[in-house]
Amino acid sequence: MTGIAEKIQRAQSSSSPNLIIDAVPYARLLGMRGLYEPDAEGGGLIFHLPPKKSNVGNPTLPALHGGAIGGFMEMAATIHVLMSMDIVKVPKVVDFSIDYVRAGRFEDTWASCSVVRQGNKLVNVAIQTWQQDRGASIATARAHFLMD
C-alpha cells in the first residue's frame, strides 16, 4: 500500500479528515481544515477555510479569489468522497461546475458536501459554501468523480 493510501485508510478509521489534508500540498496552501459537527445530518463532515492572505483576489473589498473558493470546494468534495467511501485511491475529478452567488468576503468560509448519486463508476457530489450565514450560500458547486 502506498503512502497516501495508508494515510487515507488511517483518516477513515479514525474519522480524521485532516490526516489527508496534511498530506496534500494544495490543501495546505489553501489552509483548509475538516471537522465533524456533532448531531448533524449526513455524517456532519464540514470544511473550514480560515481567512488567509494567500487566498485573496481583490485587495480593495477585500474578497477571496474565486479560484481559491473553487479550489476549496473541489478539495472539500474530494476529501468528502474519500471519507464517506471505502476507497483508498484519490478519485479523479471529471468535471466541476460552480455558481458564484455572493461575493466571498475575507472571513471564515465553510463548506459542506453531499453525495447526490453514487454509481459503480461515477459519483456526483454537491457542494455548498457559506460565510456568516449558513442559509446564504456564497457559492454552490457540483463535481463528478470517476472511481477506478
Partner: protein, 162 residues
Amino acid sequence: MADIEKLRKLCKLMVSANPGDHFHALDMRFTRLEEGKVLAELPYSESIVGNPETGVIHGGALTALLDTCSGFAAMSALDDLAICPTMDLRVDYMRAAEPHKPVFASAEAYRVTRQVVFCRGVAYQDDINNPVAHCVANFIRLDPKVSAKMTQMIEPFLEGIE
C-alpha cells in the same frame, strides 16, 4: 473596445499589487492580452500538488487559472475599464497535467451581451490540441454608470505601471 494598453496595465496591477495574495501564491503570469483573448501561464510548483504520490497538480489551481484568464478575456471585450465578477464556471478535465511542467491557458470572450460576457478557455501543456482542461465561464457586466465610475477610479493607479 477597451484600451488594450490600459487593460494590460490593469491586469499587471491586479496580479502584482498585493504581495502574498492568491495571484502570488499560484505565481500566475499573463503573457498576452488582446481584444477578447488572453494567454496565461501557471508554473509547476510543489505547493499546488493535489496527489502527493504522482505529483499531479490539483484541479483547483487550474480552476483559479482558467477563472482569472477568462475574467481578463471578458474585461478585454468591454469598452470600459471595469472588473466583471464571475457568474459561473465549469471546468472539464481531459487528462492529468504532467508534473514538473507549466500549464498554459488561453481564454476568449466569444459573445458579449448587454448584461453578460460569455467566455471559454482551454488549459494545455505542450500541445493546445491535447488539452488538460476546457472551461466555459460567464461574467456579469456591471451597471454602465458603475463601470464608468470604476474606469475613472482605476485610471490614476495605472500611471507608473510599465
